[in-house]
């Protein structure tokens, strides 16, 4: 769960009274934009608005500084549906923000993350804004590893800024405001908070650090982010309808994490366990419609609901329903299989030609397999169940070959199931 930009990100900063550049949304009137520009030396910054996260790279190249309302409106037209690419991941903007231009001689980069190197929170400061943190040489950035109970302290920041040769006049205002970021981070369930850049606004000879852009990611398991009351649309691009339905079932008992990988895929995998999820999804590749981790001993009702949603969305286009996992430690195989196959009974009309492959081990294994066998025999669905003494990878490869064969038969018009 990520958010980018000041449209909503400003709320995080305002909660802890961290100065933030005034901004307007795409709905602002020309009059409002004029006023904003007038208050900021006749300039404003126009940025595309992306819901959800846009990956590691910033919006560089997609930011316009407008010197007139005309330019601002032109920038709005250009950026409104701008696309942002990173790797093979593309997101499209849906709106813009107009932000007051903060003239400044200096830009600062600040982030707080949960470091897996130190296993403590870390504040990173660079006295150069708008940079890609990974590309800055180590001598130009300072990491402050601090105690999560006491939080980041002024002296930590003073020492870091001095080491980074930060201009003297900025040190006091930064020391005054930067500790507030920890307050936001710790209170609102953040995992990453990045202000890039912070510009130093001068007013009557005194400087104020003003956040001009923000990236934040939230911990799904920490309800702190709900206190921000963000509208749902912010994270909406993060999840598909299918994922949203499944995630409604998310409780602490039993994982229900799924991601929709390829809606055109032909294998519907029910994957059990985080490890199996990671390994199996890799092997199934593009054939997998979803990636899932349904381990954690889900109770019957939850497993049945998961299967109901999965079959409702995908069974019609599925060649192979695959149940795959290692030798479960705690997940009751009978309970999970009963949930899935009871659901299959109810949904089989969507695709009576489906086939089933199972690779699984764990408590109540035979009872689960026998139950599945009886259901599939009644439904006349072909199946092959492997125990945990067969290689999981081998089972996955078998499912892939079976799917290929079914597709070949479909192409040649022969019945393959």
């Amino acid at each position: 769960m990520q958010l980018t930009g000041l449209k909503y990100g400003r709320k995080i900063l305002e909660m802890v009274e961290f100065p933030v550049s005034p901004s307007l949304t795409e709905e602002a009137s020309i009059e409002d934009i004029s006023k904003l520009m007038a208050a900021h030396g006749g300039k404003c910054v126009v940025k595309p608005f992306f819901t959800g996260g846009i990956g590691k790279k910033g919006k560089a190249g997609l930011v316009k500084i407008a010197k007139s309302v005309h330019e601002a409106i032109a920038a709005k037209q250009e950026l409104y549906f701008a696309k942002h690419h990173q790797g093979n991941h593309t997101v499209q903007a849906n709106g813009v923000t107009f932000e007051g231009f903060i003239p400044s001689d200096a830009e600062i980069y600040v982030s707080i993350t949960s470091s897996t190197i130190h296993r403590q929170p870390v504040m990173t400061i660079i006295v150069e804004g708008g940079v890609d943190v990974e590309e800055v040489s180590p001598d130009k950035k300072k990491e402050i590893v601090f105690n999560p109970v006491t939080g980041v302290k002024s002296f930590h920041i003073i020492d870091a800024l001095r080491e980074l040769n930060c201009p003297q006049e900025y040190i006091s205002p930064l020391v005054q405001h930067l500790p507030k970021l920890w307050q936001a981070y710790d209170t609102y369930g953040l995992i990453t908070l990045e202000l890039n850049p912070i510009r130093m606004q001068s007013k009557g000879g005194r400087f104020t650090p003003v956040a001009c852009d923000i990236k934040a990611s939230f911990d799904q398991d920490n309800p702190g982010w709900k206190r921000m009351s963000f509208p749902e649309e912010i994270f909406s691009t993060d999840i598909t309808d299918f994922e949203a339905e499944i995630n409604l079932l998310r409780t602490y008992q039993g994982q229900s994490d799924v991601t929709e990988l390829n809606p055109e895929g032909t294998i519907l995998p029910f994957i059990f366990g985080g490890g199996a999820n990671s390994a199996a999804t890799e092997i199934l590749g593009q054939k997998a419609i979803i990636s899932s981790d349904f381990g954690g001993n889900p109770p019957y009702a939850k497993m049945k609901s998961i299967a109901d949603i999965s079959f409702k969305h995908w069974l019609a286009k599925t060649n192979v329903v695959l149940l795959i996992g290692g030798k479960a430690n705690n997940t009751d195989i009978f309970v999970t299989f009963k949930g899935i196959f009871d659901s299959l009974k109810e949904h089989i009309h969507l695709n009576p030609n489906v086939q089933v492959v199972v690779g699984r081990g764990g408590p109540n294994l035979i009872r689960g397999m026998v139950y599945a066998r009886d259901v599939l025999d009644n439904l006349k669905v072909p199946y092959r169940f492997f125990g945990f003494d067969s290689s999981m990878v081998g089972v996955l490869e078998h499912a892939l070959k079976l799917d290929d064969w079914i597709i070949d038969n479909q192409k040649s018009g022969r019945a393959a199931g």
Partner: protein, 914 residues
């Protein structure tokens, strides 16, 4: 942060208590489990406790101090808090946490604060917040406590047979955790067990296994694991299963290179999750989301650099003394063997099994697969082969036990139609079915065929005849003013768990066991098999023989032959009886009834739509129905049919249609064709009103208290009373009062329609006056006209209860016109016309029940043959007949799915009122 370093020689810039892997779990480990009685712990902890020879010294369950967690090797005491445990002088060094995520950090604090001996905490809980995790890190570092997890399955020591925390090795830890020389550190709990299984195929076992969890913070991560593995003399090699996210592996290998700690043992590493590179949120493990330089590819490169050889290629195996990275866990055994061979280490034992594809269950369903896909099933490894063999002997549906209070797998109210369904069949669809068949459908979920009913009907009637035995109790109870539910219920209760019931249950069980494996779904008669089974059969239950038994037996045989209804069970029983007679006390008739009912049940049973206990209990349900019907008679001395049924002088009595038998016993006369149809419909309509009704609840509560079936039926009856069919009876009283002067049967219905309409107008007008007076008095609780209006079917200009409409149309098709129901239809129109109602109310389904009942005894009532009190009893009894069938469905369902005492109301929901 190195504030409390118990292990003074730890080379790390943070606290690490364990010097060797042995320190994490060993014979001396003493464990306390938080939330020990919770759902997951109560299943897992006993297995761990047994495997570890009793290492769990106590558990904490807030608010349940004094209880115990039972295990086969002794009870584990439960305390209210950690300090409670410490105050009782119990020492422990390890805490295991099974609490919900938001309670974990509190439990960690409690463990650290309350126990000076604490060395480590294993957190099993998943979905813990990063925030809580960093506070736990901070607190435990200060306190000097190692943490494993969160989202960990714990740690296991295969040498000492100790496992701590979650369910490493599953429910049979000894199977996977085999003593050996390989240590495993795995981000996946499941893979820690799976890899343990896999390496057995190369002849290697495990020393210590750590399921690290894969949250953002891994508290016992790879650096400290490798350090402890180096110091563990049992461990000769390490397997590492890694997912993207975090710099733990990079740090561990860099520190080795930098000499921070020595590490001389080989590593087999597997990194998965390349596909996660472009995710912006975690899927599966929370911490398996990469940033920069910690995605799967980066981690692969880090390991490859450390090993000095590329990814393992099975075709050209190349490994180094430092180990190798494999692509998939499947390659681990092979690569491990290569590395160990290079280092001159022998395997721990002879290889066990292999990882080739071995399907345990296959069915092609007639498809022809190409050779490479056509892998035939193989015998499963031991002990699973035996389990499969046992499972193949199992017959019938399997259910999960659950709380069945307010739940039913038999009946439900369809929210769209507002019509109750039983086994997915709407009561409206059930109306036209033979009521005798419905009484079997309630248990079997399959409706017996018309042909099968030729043999079922005499069985039902014979059971009614058997039920007459109890009638003296009913007569005595009636004298004392008992209501029908009480005097019939008394008879049912008296039947207890009698010999006949036991014979039905036990002998059904024996026949299933005797034949299922050989005949599967088929009931074809196989004489050779019957001969074989005649030799094998034993332990058939005994039950006393009655005077009519032989006659009934012969009758059943004739009927079966006539209608070709013999099957392998009936033929077997007949052969048994011919061979043994009643020798040994086995009642031939009871045995034949078992065979007949099992034949009727067989398809549902072998298709696994009903459970084995449903089939075994079917005879008991039907026998109880027999008692209910037999003892509903009002004046037995005058009721010829009842006496015929009791004596069975004429065997043809047994062939009476079941509804007709009910009619004759209730009304002491023969029904007309239309009356029979009406009564049959009425019974079927009242079978159930969903699982929430009082009658169903009474029976289910009795099941949950573990009563015999007869007592559960008494439970249903004790929960019914004069309020039942109350609206129906009110309606009858209402109709009698309004139609007092108009005999609706004096003329054909067409000729009295006008009279009925006029009467309805008068009644409507009178009602309006009454309503106005009562309202003027301020009485808003004035009497409503019964059986009109409905909370769902309302608000339109003209309203219709579709259930009533359906039955009315059905009756019309059978040329049945009920004048009372017609009157009701005139009345709702007139009520609106005069302004007594805002719109035309519907005539609801209760009106059908009331008007049909009234029609059946109207003439006898008018002639004085049936008095008003008897009429009330009759209405109530008819309701009981319908509901006894619904009760069988609920009791059978609850026996299959329910848990003991699951109908108890939680203390939190109970109120005290003053």
């Amino acid at each position: 942060m190195k504030e409390n370093n118990r292990n003074n020689k730890s080379p790390f810039p943070y606290f690490v208590g364990a010097k060797s892997l042995v320190d994490l779990a060993n014979k001396d480990s003493k464990v306390v489990v938080m939330n020990i009685l919770g759902g997951e712990s109560s299943k897992v902890t006993p297995v761990s406790h047994i495997y570890s020879s009793g290492n769990v010294v106590a558990g904490v369950q807030y608010g349940r101090a004094g209880e115990v967690l039972e295990t086969p090797i002794g009870n584990i005491p439960v305390y209210g808090s950690v300090s409670d445990i410490v105050e009782h002088g119990i020492k422990f060094d390890t805490g295991v946490i099974y609490l919900p995520p938001n309670a974990v950090s509190h439990a960690v604090s409690e463990l650290c604060a309350g126990n000076e001996h604490l060395k480590q905490i294993v957190i099993v809980t998943e979905k813990m917040s990063v925030r809580d995790s960093r506070y736990i890190r901070w607190g435990c570092q200060r306190r000097g406590v190692d943490v494993i997890g969160a989202n960990s399955l714990g740690v296991a020591n295969s040498w000492d047979r100790v496992r701590i925390g979650g369910a490493l090795g599953g429910d049979k830890p000894g199977e996977s955790l085999v003593k050996g020389s390989v240590a495993i550190h795995s981000n996946s709990g499941n893979f820690s067990t799976t890899i343990s299984e896999y390496i057995k195929t190369a002849g290697f076992g495990t020393s210590t296994i750590v399921s690290s969890g894969k949250d953002v913070y891994i508290h016992f991560a790879l650096p400290e694991f490798l350090y402890a593995a180096e110091n563990d003399p049992r461990t000769k090699a390490v397997i590492v299963y890694v997912e993207p996210g975090g710099y733990y592996e990079q740090q561990a290998l860099e520190w080795i290179e930098q000499g921070l700690y020595p590490f001389t043992k080989p590593i087999i590493a597997v990194v998965t999750g390349r596909w996660k590179k472009n995710l912006t949120r975690s899927v599966g493990h929370a911490g398996a989301l990469s940033g920069v330089g910690d995605d799967a590819i980066a981690k692969e490169q880090i390991f490859d650099k450390y090993f000095g050889v590329p990814e393992y290629d099975p075709k050209k195996p190349k490994v180094s003394k430092r180990g190798v990275r494999v692509q998939t866990i499947q390659q681990i055994p092979e690569a491990l063997a290569e590395v160990m061979k290079m280092l001159g280490h022998k395997s721990d034992f002879e290889p066990i099994g292999d990882l080739s594809l071995k399907p345990w269950f296959v069915n092609h369903q007639g498809l022809h697969f190409p050779k490479e896909l056509n892998i035939e099933s193989v015998k499963a490894m031991s002990p699973y082969d035996k389990e499969i063999d046992e499972a193949n002997h199992m017959v019938g549906a399997q259910y999960l036990r659950q709380t069945m209070r307010n739940a039913s797998g038999a009946t439900r109210m369809n929210k769209k139609t507002d019509v109750t369904e039983i086994h997915g069949k709407s009561l409206l669809d059930l109306v036209s079915e033979d009521f005798g068949a419905s009484s079997l459908f309630a248990v079997l979920r399959d409706m017996p065929s018309a042909n099968q009913m030729h043999i079922v009907t005499p069985v039902l009637n014979w059971l009614t005849s058997e039920g007459t035995k109890y009638n003296d109790f009913a007569v005595e109870s009636r004298k004392n003013g008992a209501t029908p539910n009480a005097y019939i219920g008394a008879c049912v209760l008296m039947s207890g768990n009698n010999e006949m019931y036991k014979a039905f249950q036990q002998n059904t069980k024996i026949l299933i066991d005797l034949f299922y494996v050989d005949i599967g779904h088929k009931l074809d008669i196989e004489d050779d098999l019957i001969s074989k089974k005649l030799v094998e059969v034993k332990d058939l239950a005994k039950s006393a023989t009655g005077p009519n038994d032989q006659k009934v037996y012969d009758h059943l045989m004739i009927v079966m032959k006539k209608h070709s209804l013999e099957n392998i069970f009936t033929r077997f029983v007949n052969a048994y009886v011919e061979k043994n007679g009643d020798k040994g006390g086995v009642n031939s008739l009871h045995l034949m009834v078992v065979a007949i009912l099992l034949g009727v049940s067989w398809k549902a049973l072998t298709d696994r739509r009903i459970s084995r206990s449903d089939a075994e209990n079917l005879g008991v349900y039907l026998a109880i129905n027999g008692i209910i019907v037999a003892n509903s008679v009002i004046d037995r001395d005058k009721n010829k049919f009842w006496n015929d049924m009791k004596s069975l002088k004429d065997g043809k009595t047994l062939d009476t249609n079941y509804t007709e038998s009910c009619f004759k016993i209730l009304f002491n006369r023969a029904p007309e064709k239309n009356e029979l149809f009406a009564l049959n419909s009425l019974f079927n309509l009242t079978i159930t009103n969903g699982p929430g009704t009082l009658s169903a609840k009474g029976a289910k509560e009795s099941v949950s208290a573990k009563n015999y079936i007869s007592t559960t039926f008494a439970g249903f009856m004790m929960n019914t009373g004069l309020a039942h069919g109350g609206n129906g009876f009110e309606a009858i009283a209402f109709l009698i009062s309004k139609l007092d002067k108009l005999d609706p049967y004096a003329k054909p219905i067409k000729e009295i329609s006008g009279d009925l309409e006029k009467l309805a107008a008068t009644v409507a007008s009178d009602y309006l006056k009454y309503k106005k007076v009562e309202k003027a008095k301020g009485n808003l609780q004035y009497d409503k006209i019964p059986c009109t209006n409905h909370p769902v079917f309302k608000g339109k200009p003209v309203n219709v209860d579709p259930r009533e409409e359906y039955v009315r149309e059905l009756f019309e098709k059978h040329k049945i016109v009920n004048p009372f129901l017609e009157f009701y239809h005139y009345l709702v129109v007139e009520l609106h016309k005069v302004g007594a109602t805002d719109n035309v109310f519907c005539v609801n389904i209760d009106a059908v029940i009331a008007t049909v009942s009234l029609e059946l005894f109207w003439k006898q009532f008018k002639s004085g043959e049936i008095k008003e009190d008897a009429m009330k009893d009759l209405v109530f009894t008819m309701f009981l007949f319908g509901r006894m069938v619904g009760t069988a469905a609920e009791v059978a369902d609850h026996l299959n799915r329910g848990t003991d005492m699951d109908c108890r109301t939680p203390a939190s929901e109970v109120q005290f009122v003053t």
